[in-house]
């Protein structure tokens, strides 16, 4: 029920496997908050009415004698402990330790820059080619990919267009070229800062394709987006990436097309 209320308020529909558990925790915490707030407010309003000066001209030196508040505090501690130990810590462990094996997953690199998301697929060989900051060229080679490296021959790069197959785990190695950005897809309940000098892996499993989501939300314009969540300069507000979740077949077809384009154009400027 709480989850329905949160969705009504604005919580976007969930579209990843672990996201369901995130939402359960979200609902749980909000229940705790609501119960405490309503309880306190009921008491508060009653007291303001009951103990106003005109009704109660003589204050009582002792005040409250019951131990009810102690029980409330103990209950709060117990509820917090359950949320913490039952949900939050195990879930975090799952997010940062229980990575799927690379062979079972779609593995990509994403390198953020002011104000775009560079997306790097390893290509059919499954190995990322060498990159070097010295090779970076803003228009022709934003990732600094060394095309002379044999592993880089079949690599596919792209700006702001992230395609992923549905129901297959995705591992993203996230980094940044310049300042700190933050990679988030609200429907996937995923977020991670992209920090220069560090490569941080994240993983999730998309469970609803873009087309299915269009039907579910009854909106043809539905669009998954990468939202930058960390202030990264004057273009922070428009640093949106576009995410397409599709069937494995559609994804493979798309990837082949991208590979062919990269071969024919000779550099990585095909997307311009």
């Amino acid at each position: 029920m709480m989850l329905e209320w949160l969705h009504k308020l604005g919580l976007p529909p969930v579209a990843s496997v672990h996201g369901v558990a995130v939402d359960v925790a979200q609902a749980g915490v909000h229940w705790l908050m609501l119960v405490l707030f309503v309880g306190w407010m009921g008491y508060f309003i009653f007291v303001l009415f009951r103990f106003r000066r005109s009704r109660n001209p003589q204050a009582n030196y002792q005040g409250v004698k019951s131990h009810f508040s102690t029980y409330v505090e103990v209950a709060v501690v117990v509820a917090e402990a359950v949320l913490l130990l039952g949900f939050s810590i195990p879930m975090w462990r799952q997010r940062v330790e229980a990575f799927p094996s690379a062979s079972q997953a779609t593995v990509i690199r994403i390198v953020a820059e002011q104000f775009a998301w560079n997306i790097h697929y390893p290509g059919p060989d499954g190995i990322f080619g060498r990159t070097d900051p010295k090779l970076i060229d803003l228009t022709s080679n934003p990732l600094g990919l060394d095309r002379n490296d044999p592993n880089a021959m079949d690599d596919i790069t792209n700006v702001n267009q992230l395609h992923l197959p549905v129901n297959k785990p995705v591992i993203i190695h996230l980094s940044s070229k310049d300042v700190i950005h933050s990679f988030g897809i609200p429907q996937m309940r995923i977020k991670q800062d992209a920090i220069p000098g560090m490569s941080v892996p994240i993983w999730f499993t998309p469970s609803v394709t873009s087309e299915e989501m269009k039907k579910k939300t009854n909106d043809d314009k539905f669009q998954y987006q990468i939202a930058c969540a960390q202030l990264c300069g004057l273009g922070h507000y428009r640093m949106a990436g576009y995410v397409t979740i599709e069937s494995q077949e559609a994804f493979d077809t798309w990837l082949d097309e991208q590979g062919a384009k990269a071969q024919t154009s000779g550099d990585d400027a095909f997307w311009l």
Binding site: V22, N60, S69, I195
Partner: protein, 586 residues
């Protein structure tokens, strides 16, 4: 009495009548310094608020020219009245900086702490009056530097009040001035905190044991320790960032940075995360610097206006100390999304949940103190009462942010903005208003007008919720913070985008709701109803034992404390309050 007393009496003998400059400008009197802090901080608070009003125009009507006022801005900030994103970012960074470091802290600690605390402990002045003066002037210079930064090429700092590198290190000259300004502000706070600690330990009047201290003094005491221990790392970090910007070092810059397609030739080897640790090691305790004095003010006013002792005074004091301690080991919950392993993450989640316990205890005690009271609904009490549920909302909405699972969705969204504004704006700032209405008669000898006061309260209460409540909804929808167009670039923001107009209109109405306060403040100062007693609220604490307003040296007699701070409605007594300094009968 300690040496501070002697030193002061000597000074008084030698300089019986200080001249104008010494009396009102370069004064060493804690009350004058308190008022200087108060006026300056109120001006900055208002200025910081104006910055936000400008931002709210852009958020409600992105890309549209601001009518009338827009013409007064330069082409580098609002050409044709249309705001540039650089300027928006400057406004955001400076709103945060000014509200926290130049508004709320100086008002809560510099003004109320300086004015009220020495009176409440029966001291003639602070332990180090000249250091006190230096503290104010360092603050003043810091404020001037921050203001000047608006006029340098590129405008004021625009990398958020958190100034994360590398963004802050690539930013325009305004950032250098921000860092210099911060060095002055931090120095000011450090000077102040040492003074507060020594004063509270050394200058308490006879009989005023620690467990007889008014809760406000306890709050200032713990706050001073937080400032003393948390600020130095940021001062160091600020200097390191200055070195990075000016001297070519790379404390916070990794190797191989490529900015706008150009490889940067910095020496590298640094890490931006180091700055975040140093920054939040200050900035989390800083949250409690903002909130503890507010709790102190609210506790004083609630005890006074319920006419009964605070419920659970001792639990409140112990919770306060525990809060202060815990506030040093929760900082990395601001960094949950930087890529943490399970152990570190579990540690900071756990400490964050633990720190909610003493907060709940203090808040519960304040709520329970109302039970059995004889509640007077005057203006200070209305603000103090409103503080309780508002701070409650702020605290409760901290829970889903403190648990990493739920924070995954909410981190760096408007939910965060709603959360901390509930703590600081309708929380702390309401408490500060309560304090102004409450202690105004002591400082001026005149009461503030009740009708205008209540008008101010009702307007503020309604509209401040109109500003901040919708932020939780936008946050749930996943709208990131610090977006120049308020989220218009994003599909998921679509359904909640219209709330921006409502929030902005509320913000502008909130500004109008401050007019009764401003009028009341100046009117009452010169023409308000004169108080007929030195203790108009019939309070128990020592500040009301002084003449009104208190002269240089404060007390006309040497008070001795014989009982606890809140002996209201003691059974068998004819009066409903027994001041701490009133001798025991018989």
């Amino acid at each position: 009495m300690s040496s501070g007393h002697h030193e002061h009496s000597e000074q008084q003998e030698h300089h019986a009548e200080p001249g104008f400059w010494q009396k009102y400008v370069f004064s060493t009197d804690h009350k004058v310094i308190g008022l200087q802090y108060g006026f300056t901080a109120l001006c900055f608070l208002f200025f910081g608020f104006l910055l936000m009003l400008l931002m709210r125009w852009q958020l409600a009507f992105p890309g549209q020219a601001l009518p009338v006022i827009g013409k007064f801005f330069s082409d580098s900030s609002m050409p044709g009245g249309i705001m540039l994103p650089e300027f928006y970012n400057s406004l955001g960074a400076m709103h945060g900086t000014i509200m926290v470091f130049l508004g709320v802290v100086p008002l809560a600690v510099g003004a109320f702490g300086n004015y009220v605390m020495p009176l409440q402990i029966g001291a003639v002045d602070m332990a180090f009056p000249k250091i006190n003066m230096a503290s104010y002037w360092a603050f003043f210079v810091g404020g001037v530097v921050m203001l000047v930064s608006f006029f340098v090429p590129g405008g004021a700092a625009n990398s958020g009040w958190t100034s994360y590198p590398p963004l802050a290190e690539l930013a325009t000259t305004g950032q250098t001035l921000w860092l210099l300004g911060m060095v002055f502000l931090i120095t000011s706070s450090l000077l102040g905190s040492v003074n507060f600690i020594v004063t509270i330990i050394q200058l308490r009047v006879k009989g005023l044991s620690f467990m007889r201290l008014p809760f406000f003094v306890w709050a200032q005491f713990v706050t001073a320790f937080l400032l003393l221990l948390a600020f130095p790392p940021l001062e160091a970090a600020g200097v390191l960032q200055l070195m990075d910007r000016l001297a070519g070092s790379s404390f916070f810059l990794p190797s191989g940075l490529v900015v706008s397609g150009q490889l940067m030739h910095n020496s590298g080897g640094g890490t931006p995360i180091l700055w975040q640790h140093l920054f939040w090691f200050l900035a989390h305790p800083e949250v409690y610097v903002l909130i503890l004095p507010a709790l102190g003010i609210v506790a004083e006013i609630i005890a006074n206006n319920t006419r009964k002792p605070l419920w659970g005074y001792k639990s409140m004091v112990y919770s306060l100390i525990f809060l202060g301690f815990m506030s040093f080991i929760v900082w990395a919950h601001h960094m949950f999304m930087t890529g943490m392993g399970t152990v570190i993450n579990a540690f900071f989640q756990t400490t964050t949940m633990i720190i909610s316990v003493p907060s709940v205890i203090v808040l519960s005690c304040l709520f329970l103190s109302l039970w059995g009271g004889s509640i007077r609904f005057n203006t200070p009490m209305l603000f103090a009462l409103a503080f309780l549920p508002m701070f409650g909302i702020g605290g409760l909405t901290g829970l889903p942010l403190g648990l990493t699972t739920t924070d995954l969705h909410l981190h760096d969204t408007y939910y965060v903005i709603g959360h901390f504004h509930y703590v600081v704006a309708p929380g702390t700032i309401f408490a500060l208003f309560a304090g102004i209405y409450y202690w105004f008669p002591k400082a001026t000898g005149r009461k503030m007008n009740e009708v205008l006061g209540k008008l101010h309260f009702i307007g503020s209460f309604i509209f401040i919720n109109g500003v901040f409540m919708p932020m939780f909804i936008q946050g749930l929808a996943g709208v990131s913070r610090r977006l120049f167009d308020g989220g218009a670039s994003y599909y998921h923001a679509g359904p909640v985008l219209k709330l921006n107009v409502m929030m902005s209109v509320s913000a502008w109405c909130l500004a109008l709701a401050q007019l009764p306060f401003i009028i009341n403040f100046f009117y009452s100062m010169f023409a308000g109803e004169k108080v007929t007693s030195d203790n108009p609220w019939q309070s128990t604490t020592l500040e009301w034992a002084t003449p009104t307003p208190p002269p240089h040296g404060n007390f006309t007699f040497t008070p001795e404390v014989v009982r606890g701070p809140y002996e209201y409605s003691v059974p068998g007594e004819s009066s409903d309050f027994l001041p701490q300094y009133q001798p025991v009968k018989g």
